[in-house]
């Protein structure tokens, strides 16, 4: 591990230790050991971050292969949650099997093989054409278009977008050789920080709701404060990246905005399906998609920004 990586993990570790201690103190002093909605959610979130940091740390230790395998598994859990909440029929069996057992592994294998020309189109072109063909061959037309479109959206969100996180490792930036894992660390840290700070600002000064029907806790003040302060954090962490301080702040603003909009879209899908959370993969902390919705929408945009302006 590079010195920057060690500093990053040491810093995150320190923050989590403080957060865990604060969470335990709140549980003891304020909640007095009784169940307490907000404090229990906070502690569950802190627990989820510990897992996220530990898993990322282990994957980083194995380099590109570790990151590709970790996110392939994350993608599997996301797709399982998404399809579980989607209307499918027996006629979709082979399309679903192809999505899980062919297109998902293929996407991450192509990322691992650094075949950008293939992994950037494998799903939006070939999966999008192939899956409705198999669904059509079953001759079941009930809600056919809806079924085909939903499976395409599931692959796009849960496989294609997720695969752009490990794809960051394949970028070759002059003067930043061997540091590409840091691009992932910076992205996940900044976007997750933005989620937390939006919540904190919203609690402190939140007044006007942005989208009361889908995300009652998101307010204009909370989102503006969260995006601004997370962008500041991104700028202060410029030393982890190939960006200057100003560039880092601007890129952070873009990815945090995409993250916020992504969580709105995912909230709208959940409301449409009548559920509060995607699943229970992380017991007591919602599903994998609940924790990663913002990273999923930010990753491809971040990848292309870096690829376009920093990779020769």
């Amino acid at each position: 591990m590079s010195p920057e990586m060690l500093k990053l993990f040491a810093g995150v570790f320190g923050v989590l230790v403080v957060a865990s201690a604060a969470g335990a103190a709140l549980k003891r002093r304020v909640a007095r050991g009784e169940p307490h909605g907000t404090i229990d959610t906070l502690n569950a979130r802190i627990g989820a971050w510990w897992w996220m940091v530990i898993l990322l740390g282990v994957a980083f230790a194995f380099g590109k292969g570790g990151v590709v395998v970790l996110f392939a598994f994350v993608s599997f859990l996301c797709l399982r949650e998404f399809v579980s909440l989607t209307y499918t029929r027996r006629g979709d069996h082979w399309a679903l099997a192809l999505a899980f057992f062919v297109f998902l592994p293929l996407q991450f294998a192509l990322v691992g093989a650094e075949r950008y020309g293939l992994y950037s189109i494998a799903i939006p072109v070939y999966a999008f054409l192939t899956l409705p063909i198999f669904a059509a061959l079953s001759s079941d037309t009930t809600r056919f278009f809806e079924r085909a479109a939903k499976l395409q959206a599931a692959l796009m969100i849960c496989v294609y977008c997720v695969s752009y996180v490990p794809a960051l490792v394949t970028l070759r930036i002059p003067g930043f050789e061997g540091g590409s894992l840091l691009l992932i660390g910076w992205l996940v840290l900044v976007v997750q920080t933005s989620d937390v700070l939006q919540y904190v600002w919203g609690k402190l000064v939140g007044r006007r709701r942005i989208a009361p029907a889908l995300a009652p806790s998101k307010t204009v003040e909370g989102v503006a404060g969260g995006l601004a302060s997370a962008s500041l954090v991104g700028a202060l962490l410029a030393w982890l990246t190939p960006f200057t301080v100003l560039q880092a702040g601007a890129v952070a603003l873009v990815v945090c905005t995409m993250g916020f909009l992504g969580s709105l879209v995912m909230a709208a899908i959940k409301r449409d399906r009548g559920v509060r959370e995607w699943g229970t993969t992380l017991e007591g902390r919602g599903g994998m998609l609940d924790r990663l919705d913002s990273v999923i929408f930010a990753a491809p945009v971040y990848f292309h920004l870096v690829r376009h302006w920093w990779e020769p």
């Binding site: 399982r80 579980s84 027996r90």
Partner: protein
Amino acid sequence: MDSVRFSKEKLAADGICAFARLLTGARALWKGTAPAAVQRIYYGNHTSHGDFVLIWASLPEELRVRTRPVAGADYWNATPLRRWLAHEVLRGVVIERTKTDGGADPVAQMGAALDAGDSLILFPEGTRNTTDAPLLPFRSGIWRVVAAHPDVECVPVWIENLNRVMPKGEFLPIPLLCTLSFGEPVRIAPGEAKDAFLDRLAGALLALAPPPS
């Protein structure tokens, strides 16, 4: 208790449980009762060959080792691998679903397992439900077994989504999250008639089903 016991049957059982969780999440919701070392018949809606594996995998291990699934001989005796899985790994009570002359009596086989102190997993519909109706009519075997063992609790288990994981006739399972809702136990009343008891069983199971989407 011998805590560490390695055998290929134990290894296969753990492997099946791990596989079932990876595939389906196997999330157990104990709504009407808690997992307890009480002699029970877990009965569920039957949509797939994986049904009893899923109930079996979602039980805590100390209960699982004392719980035997009731399985149809026509499927589970058909190949040597299935026979080994059903008899040795899952410790199933393998019964003939259609009457045969000179074959073992299914009710007596299930009674013997209960007499030995084990719990059972049973699908009273008798065959996999591929209709649009939520449940097929229950067959009478469960009433005959419980009438002879009135102290045994019948625990309804509604299995959600497994029919989508492995539809009848397909061999490749699709990974989808399944939930198992364990309801309030049903006990037979002294002298309760067959139809009345079967109706109560079906009602308790249907009460766990989610509203249609």
